[in-house]
Every structure is written in C-alpha cells, then in structure tokens.
Amino acid sequence: MEIKALIDMAGERYNIHSQLEHLQSKYIGTGHADTTKHEWMTNQHRDTYGSILGHFDLLNYMAISENESKARVKFNLVEKMLQPCGPPPEKPED
C-alpha cells in the first residue's frame, strides 16, 4: 500500500510539474520556485504598462498628467516594457 501511494504521489508530482511547465510556457510570468525578485518586478511592470495601453482612460490620465500626446505616451510605454526595472542582477555562480 505504502509503495503504491508513493508511486502515486510521484506520478502526481510529475503531472503537476508538467502542468506548471505548460502554464509557464503559455502564460508569461507564471512563477516558479526560482523566480527572482527582479524577474517578478519586471513582469509586474510589463503587465501594468500593457494594461495602461489597453485602458483608454488610464492612457488619457497619463497623457494629461505628463502633458504629452497620447501617441507619445503609448510609444514610451512600449519602450519602457523592454527593461522596466533596469538590467537583471548578476547571477551568482553556481
């Protein structure tokens, strides 16, 4: 019995793992155990900019506060999505 349960668990874990991988490839920004703070932040910022681009009144709001044309604000937002939180930190050598 015990052995069977173990195998089941392993199978399930494997299954969850593959499901996660599927999610991670399908939905950008799905986290994993090794997500760094920088990755998470970058992803949050990109999501936010993407959302502002889509919501017309948030775009209006930004355009008014910055006193720039809406086209310029849109352009700047996509530009900022390249690297919204600066370059990634050095990866520690394993």
Binding site: I28, H55, D57, A63, I64, N67, A71, M81, Q83
Partner: protein, 1243 residues
Amino acid sequence: MLVLEWSLEEAGVMSGTALTRTPHGGQPSLSAMHLYNLTLQRATGITHAIHGNFSGSKLQEIVVSRGKILEILRPDPNTGKVITLLSVEVFGIIRSLMAFRLTGGAKDYIVMGSDSGRIVILEYIPSKNVFEKVHQETYGKSGCRRIVPGQYLAIDPKGRAVMIGAVEKQKLVYILNRDAQARLTISSPLEAHKSNTLVYHLVGVDVGFENPMFACLEMDYEEADSDPTGAGAQNTKQTLTFYELDLGLNHVVRKYSEPLDEHANFLITVPGGNDGPSGVLICSENYITYKNLGEQPDIRCPIPRRRNDLDDPERGMIFVCSAAHKTKSMFFFLAQTEQGDIFKITLEIDEDMVTEIKLKYFDTVPVATSMCVLKTGFLFVGSEFGNHYLYQIAHLGDDDDEPEFSSAMPLEEGDTFFFAPRVLRNLVLVDEMDSLSPITSCQVADLANEDTPQLYMLCGRGPRSSMRVLRHGLEVSEMAVSELPGNPNAVWTVKRRADDEFDSYIIVSFVNATLVLSIGETVEEVTDSGFLGTTPTLSCSTLGEDALVQIYPDGIRHIRADKRVNEWKAPGKRSIFRCAVNQRQVVIALTGGELVYFEMDPTGQLNEYTDRREMPADVVSMSLGSVPTGEQRSRFLAVGLADNTVRIISLDPSDCLSPLSMQALPALPESLCIAEMGASEDTQQGTIYLNIGLENGVLLRTVLDPVTGDLADTRTRYLGSRPVKLFRIKMQGGEAVLAMSSRSWMSYYFQNRFHLTPLSYEILEYAAGFSSEQCPEGVVAISTNTLRILAMEKLGAIFNQMSFNLEYTPKKFAVHSETGHLLIIETDHNAYTEETKSQRRIQMAEEMKDAAGPDEQELAQEMADAFLHEDLPDSNFGAPKAGPGMWASIVRIMDPVEGKTYFFYRFPQNEAAMSLAYVKFATQGEFQHFVLVGVAKDLQLAPRTAGQNYIYTFKINADCTELDFIHKTVVEEVPYAMCPFQGKVLVGVGKTLRLYDYGKKKLLKKSENKHLPNLIVHIVTSGARIYVSDVQESVHFIKFRRSDNQLIVFADETNPRWVTTSCVLDYDTVAVADKFGNVAVLRLPPNTSDNVDEDPSGTKALWDRGLLSGASNKLEVLCNFHVGEIVLSLQKSTLIPGGNESLVYTTLSGSIGILVPFTSHEDHDFFQHLEMHMRSENTPLSGRDHLSFRSYYFPVRNVIDGDLCEQFNSMDPAKQRSIGEDLDRTPNEVAKKLEDIRTHFAF
C-alpha cells in the same frame, strides 16, 4: 451637528438585506442601498475613427469609438454638418477598430478588437439602424492583458484576412471569405506568435492579389532580460517583420525581418498592386522611412521641424496619426506630428521603385487620435482632448509657395528641415463637435439663479482647456430676428406646391389682420398671395398638389394655383371657433360645438361632408394627423372638449364623424397634436401619438391605435406654469412636436429613444416648422413683437453648453459662496509660464542676431523682430513643451455666468499648484475669506520628488474680484489635498494629515496624524468626522477630538482603492471613485461610530493595534460598480427642481452619469429582473459579458445598470415582447418604467 442622510430608510420603503444605522447612534434599522446607474451624457472623447461605406450607399460614414461606445457619424456632403446616426454602448473596451470590404463588395464591415478576448465583426444595417454582429470568435481570456490579442488590428487591403495582435507575443490571423450565399465567413485562427517580443504597431501590406502580408514593428527583449550589464537593452533594435499568410498552405510564415535604426511608433500602408509601389512608411522619431521587400532601397527623410521652436531642444518629433487618400490616378498621406502640424506626404515612383519621399507642410489642427479623409473632400479630426472638427479640404497644397521637402535633398546626419507654421490655408472648418473630454472637476450648483441648477465643469488640457457651464436644454441657434408692426398671435409656413422642397410663405396673424411674407433671398411682405389680409387667421396650409387654404373666423378660403378663390362662409351669426387642417382635410368647430368636415376630392375641390356633428361640450382644441403617403385622408380627428375630455372621432367614409374613443383628463386640453414618431429612414411605420397640452402646464403623450383609434399608454410630464401649446414640426425627416409653456420644449424621437428636452431660449408664444435653403429644418416662432427663425442642430444632446477659455489644464475649483465666483487652479506639466516664454523668445532672438554675419545684421534684425511679434495662438498650435519637471500654474477668479476673468495670479516657473481650499478662518472673523493653494516646486512625476512645497495664503476681497497674497508656509511634502474644517484647514501633506490655523507670518500647525499609508489625495468632512482618501489605500475615517486636539483614524477599508475623489453621503457613508473606473459606496458598520464618540480618552482608538494592520474598524462595501471610465468628480445633488437627490459623476472621457437610489422594493425587483433578461437576451456588441465588465475589478454589488436596461428600447419588438411576458408587462409598460425612473431624477 450637520447630518446629511441619504440612505433609503428615511423614505421608509426599502427594508431588508443589510444593516445600516441611523444617525446619532440610534437603533440600527434594516436596509441596504440599491442604486441604479444612468448615463446622462455619453462620453465625448474619441479614441479611434475609421471611415467607409458602412450603410452600403454611396455616402461615406465615419465610425468612431468613444472608449466603450461605438458610434456611426455621417457628414452631410452639402452642409458639412456631422450627424450621429447611431450610438451604442458595447460594455467593453474598444481597443482597436478597422473597416474592411470583401473584394468586389460595396459595403464595409467593422472589425473590433476589445478586451473581451474575442474578435467581433459588425455590420451596420441602415434599415433598422443597428449594428449587427456578423461574427464573434473567441480566442483568449478577457481583460486588457499583455499577451491576449485585441490591442492591434491589421487588415489585408483586399479584405482577405485580418490579423489581431497583442502587445506581446500573440498574433492571430483570420481568413475572411464568402460562402455560396455571398455571406461573410471567417476561418479558424492561424497563429503567428513570437515569444518575448513586444509589438508597437501592425498593418496590412498592400500586395494586390498575392498572398496577404502583414508588417509588424517588433522588439525582442529576450537578450536584454538576460544581460546584467545593461548593454543588451542598449543594443536592442526594433525590427520590421513581414508575416505572410500562405493561402494555399493555410499557414502564416514570418517571411522577413529587418532591424531598424531608430525606434518607430507606427506604420503607414502604401498602396500596392496596380495602384502603387506597395511597401510601408515607417514613422519613427525624427524620421520617416519607406521600406519594401525586394530590391527597393530604403528612402529616408527627416521630419521637418518648426523654425525657432520654443520646445525643449532635446525632444524628438514623432507623427501621431495619419490618413491616406487614394484615387485611381494618385495617392497621398496626411500625417500629423505631436505639435499638430499636418504634412502631406507623396512618393516619387520610377518603374515601381520609390525614389523620393516628399513632405509638404499642409496646415495645423489640434492634435488628433485619428484622422479620416473622405471621398467628398472632408477631413475628419478626432481630437485627443477637446472638441472634434470636420474640415473641408479646399486645396491640396499642390501649387502654392510652401516649400516642399524631399528625401533627395542633401542633408547632414542629424540635420533637419525647417518650416514656419501658419494659419489654415488648405483646410476650411465646416463643423465642430463639442467634446467635454477630459472633465477634471465638476460641481452642480445654481449660481446663475435659474431654478434649475447648472453643471460647472473644468474641461480640456493645456491651452485648449475651458470652463464649461452646462444647462439642461437643446441649443438653439438664432438664424434671424425681425420686428413686426404689432404683437402677432400666430404664425404658419406654407409651401406653394406640395412637392416644393422649401416653404414659400410665412403667414403671421394679428388680432385683426394677417400678414403674408414670402421666403426667398430675403423675407418680405407680399400682397398677391391670395390670402385675405384684413382678418385674423385661425389656420392655414397647403392643400393637395398646389392649392392653399386659409381658415378665418368667418369662413374658409381655398386658393387654387391659378389664384381662383373659393370661399365657404360660416352660416349665419356663427363663426369658426377652432379648426384643424392637413394636406387634404379641413375640420372646423363652429361656436356652440358643432363640427363641420371638409375633404378634398380628386379634382381638387373642397367638399363639405353632408352631416355635421354636435359635440357634448364646447370644443377647446382640435388636431388632425398628416395624411399618410399614398392615402386619401388621415382617419382620425382628435377633439379636446371643455368637459375635460379628449375624443377621437373617425373620419373614415364608412363611419364618418362617429366617436371612436375618449380619454378623461385632469385639466382643460389647451392644445392637441397628432404626430407620427419613431419611423426610421426606410419603410418602417412609426407610431401615432396624440400629444395633449393641458391648461395646468402638463403634457400628456398617448399612443393612438392606428386601427381602432383607441388611446393607450399615457406618459405625463410637467413642462411649466403656463398652458401648453403644441406645434408639429419636421425634424430629421420625421415629425416632432414643439410644446410651449413657460419654457419651450421639443419632443422628438432620436436614436431609438424619445427625447423631451427644453430649448435653451427665451419664452416663445407660437411656432411653426420652417424650411429654406439656408435653414432646411428650422422653426419660425413669435415672441412678443418679433418673428424669429431658429434652428436646433444638436439633436440628442441633453445639455447646452457655454464655454470659456482657460490657459492651462484646470485642476480644481471652489465656489465663493457670496458672489458665486469661481476660484480655479490651472497647472501644466511640461510647460513654460508666460514670463519664461517671453524670456526664451528674447533669448532666441538675440541668438539669431549673434549667429548672423556682419553683412546679414539687418536681415537678422528683421527676422528677430518678426519672430518676437509672431503671434500664433497656443490653442491651435499647441503650447511649447518645456521638458519634464517644468511647470506653469495660475490661480484665477472667474465669473461663470458672464465668463469674465477678474483676476489671476501667476506662480513662478516650476511651481505646480496642486490643491485649493476656500477657507473662512474662525480666528479671522466672518467677513474675511481666504483661498489656500498647495504648491509643489520642481516636482518630478516618476518617481515623485519635489524640491520644496508651499501653501500660499491669499485673502479674497469682499466682492471676490481680487486676491491679496498674504504669506506662504513651507511644508515638507507635496500638499495634494486641502479642506476647510471647523474654522481651520486640513491639509494632506504627503502622507501626513495636518490641521492648520491662520497666523500672521505663516499658517500655524495645530494637530497632525502621520499614520496614513501613502499619500493623501482627497479630504472631505462632515461634522467632527474627516474622510481622508489615500492614493492607493481607499478611505480612512478620522475623528477629530477637540478636547485632546487629536486626529484619530478609527476606520478604514480592506480593499485597495486608488482613490481619485470621494463624496459624503451621510455621516457614516461615503462614495468613492478610483483610477480604474470604479465607484463604490462604503459605510461604517452599525455600532462602531458610537464607540469612538464615547471612548472617553480616545486612547483606545489611538493606540489600538487595529485589525489587519490598519484601523480597528473596517468599512462595509454597500455598492460596487465599474463605470469603465475614470471618475474624477462625485457630488450628491438634485438636477431638476423638485427632483430627488442623486449621485452625479463625471468622467475623464467626458461622460456625465448619475447613480440613483431605488424608492421601492417593487421597482428594484422589476429592474433586477429586467437587467437579468437584458444580460441574456442582449449580449454586448463587444462580445464581453456584461456582468463581468461591470465587475471588472470588484464584483458588482447592489447597482443595476440602467444603460443596459435602456437598450430595451432599441431591441427587436419580438424580443421586447418575450422579455415583457416574463416580467408580466407589455413592452410599452417596460418602456414607461424606464422613462419614469429617468425623469424622476434627471432628464
């Protein structure tokens, strides 16, 4: 203590679900707040505009998106006036819009990309005046997500495929085709994804009939993400990628990708196939580049800059939008820069190769989001903010002295061309469409003392901003006013021939005479018309083909075309008392109540019907409907009698003059009018309505059954204090009714809805329709001794507005209570003050002189002088952009009734006015009033840092025409919010709430609380309670304990809300609006406020660790609703005299709406069911689920969407019936309910 009670238990009708408390800590009573959302005026800003032949006729229409509203407009090719054909709320966010046409088709379809995760193809059906969903294909999750397509749309110019793209990664291609029945078909999607890739823009490339191709501006961020040195991001290039749809293989391939030198923001398709060289124009910062596949070398031309521009020299220049025009022989593009300058772009082509790009300065118009060039030679400009325009393109700028810039002209790298902006030369303004967007602040008040309150709002941005005063009413334009020799009683217009387009005569009746005026170039008196001039006239009309009829007290005069006159004399001593007449029939009532009926026979003879009919009481009023086309007569006569009844009498030959039906009335029927309304352009029959104007000022509108003559479904509306007189006029091809009481009203059917709107005009006494060449659909009216010709052009508009210009973006205003003057602060980022601007000009003029050589001195001097005296208004040409961190602000005193500015105080450069309070300090006596302005110096927007911050104190003089600067107080953070409070002032200094009192040298700090989370953005008060809104942490309830001089936070909320504004509804309840377009009502749970008030030391609340790391009490959410546009003002007020209170909100996109409480359970129940049925039977056009849209950020709670419910009126009659059956009501009863709740609170 001031206690404002808004909850419903006061009305004593709602009881049930949730708990609320009565003021003063009494027993909690059972109640919940249920609100009904109604839009009074829809959003006016435009986010997208496309043009095409959407109705399938020769005329071109424009389809615009106003954020969540889809609207179809038609510019009249003759007059140039833009008419709205249809406007539909789609309950989703329209993110992209495209028109397309299948090869060989004559009708354009609309593709819409929205936040629904679905692609929707719509068709406009002109006969029903609706948008019909042809296809709706689901591809992803809903919401504006970065990898779900919807943001971009591209169409193959031959209409064979559409690509829909997301901001990142995903792109889908759908193939469009026809089936055997020539219906549009859509394929399953083909993927063209590329991960880690951002998309700037997407267009279809015109490749003729080869495989459809799409061009895409992309940027791959993968490398930048993995390079810790930052060099990866520096070196990331934008690429232009072509995607080809292989129609044979049913597959999309990434055909070709090329890195670009500079980052571009959008693409323009160049005509291909037989019409041009194909390829794309890439609009990037400072440059425009032509690119195509194959041998074609890149052609690149700098974007010309304004000569001697005051802009920040570091700034680049981009194009913001473009429009293309193509005929068989040529094509050109109009592209607009950020400054509003339009360039005409043409391409030189040599053997299918582009050799040169030519740019020519065309004209300058306000910066647009979209432009459309129509085939009729109009340019439609949908402005970013403020009013929209329609221009006539008078010249193409082909042969003038304006210099043409070309890519072939040699220039050094980094150099550019210069041009001089000037007033319009090629464009002529033909129509202006009002837009309130953005509304930054609004207050409802009756400052002009007019009984009905006005809406005062701050609108617009930068130099195009304005203070607007909105009044309920239809704008009336006065075409002509002429004085008459006496006071006339009545006026009519007649045509000489029935098929004439315009009216020929105006007939004016006096007490003892009749005046006939002929309409031509001028309006002048004539005597040869055949009308009897020596008697007053009762009525007149065109009769049959070409005859006229005049009814006067002693008889009827029938004037034939050849001026033969037939007279019918009234018998004996009786005279004609009342009459009704139409194109073929005349009915008169003789004194004593006898009816005599005449009808025209086929020979044109007017024959009396053999019988007469005695009425049971005196006839007070009569009306005949128009003769329906193709019929001999109108079958019904409506007669109003002195016994307070109205009777319908048949005129059918089989039962002529027999009574059909009767309705009892509450008062004497002063006037009657039968009108057919609700007919659409085509064959569709309208409904016949009998309008009854009562002596007591009430208007009744009743449906007249076209078969039986029964009267049903009566709607009532009080119009004014005087008896109501009614007149039938023509409006937009249909019939409308003018009703005159102490105010004039117009009742008309427009866009599937009845409108009953007062005219914003002085009292009128009598009116008739009027049609001439200058004024095809007007009204001629009399008022005392004048004759006026009026036109009502802005049908459908509920408000009529007055607009007064301001200088910078207005932020906030306060009303000076004694004089009604407004104190306004205006602040612009990225701007120069007047002083800096003139300094910069002088400096540049000096540089010009210095740069010139010794022999050019004179010329340089001349140029410098010309430059200094150049005066191009900022409102058209845009204010110079000074760069980030540069601010300009003023505080102004304005009289909103006259629009006069009494005074302004200009703050020095880089001081930004952020908040304003109008304060009466208790220590300074009752008669000294102050205005406080919170100012940030050298403020940077992101991240927010400020050099220094002040509170300016000004003293207002007694008649509020001047401000006297007293002192400024330094504070350590930006003062974003201020509010007067118990003779002192509360200031939100960053995240500190502080109480200040007046001091001689500066304001004196009295008390403070540092426990607010981030940044205080709004403060409102009620009694000793203070409601403070945080920039992202919702509302905090604060109690001021005077005895201990403490500000104690005793309640907050668990939901994050990025509050923009708030409003106190009652002592325990506030309404808040947030940056994501939500409105919520929050209330303190029962019994809590007592604890705070009674806690003797206050220490418990002060030192309490609180709940969930916040205050000890949590607010309950009573209502939640997603408006869909950012709400920037909330106010509790009554909009109509005698009406109930409602919560009025205005949004950034320019809409005005109200939330109203239900007054009975029955109503609430009814609307809840109606909403439920509407959700399932009337799914939104965007493909978004209505419930999930209204629950965008928070689940919708206790708010019923009236905008959805009102779409009931535009549904298919069969569906209306089926919903009606489920609700146990007829469709008319449902419509009446909808109308009632609207008129109860607003208009």
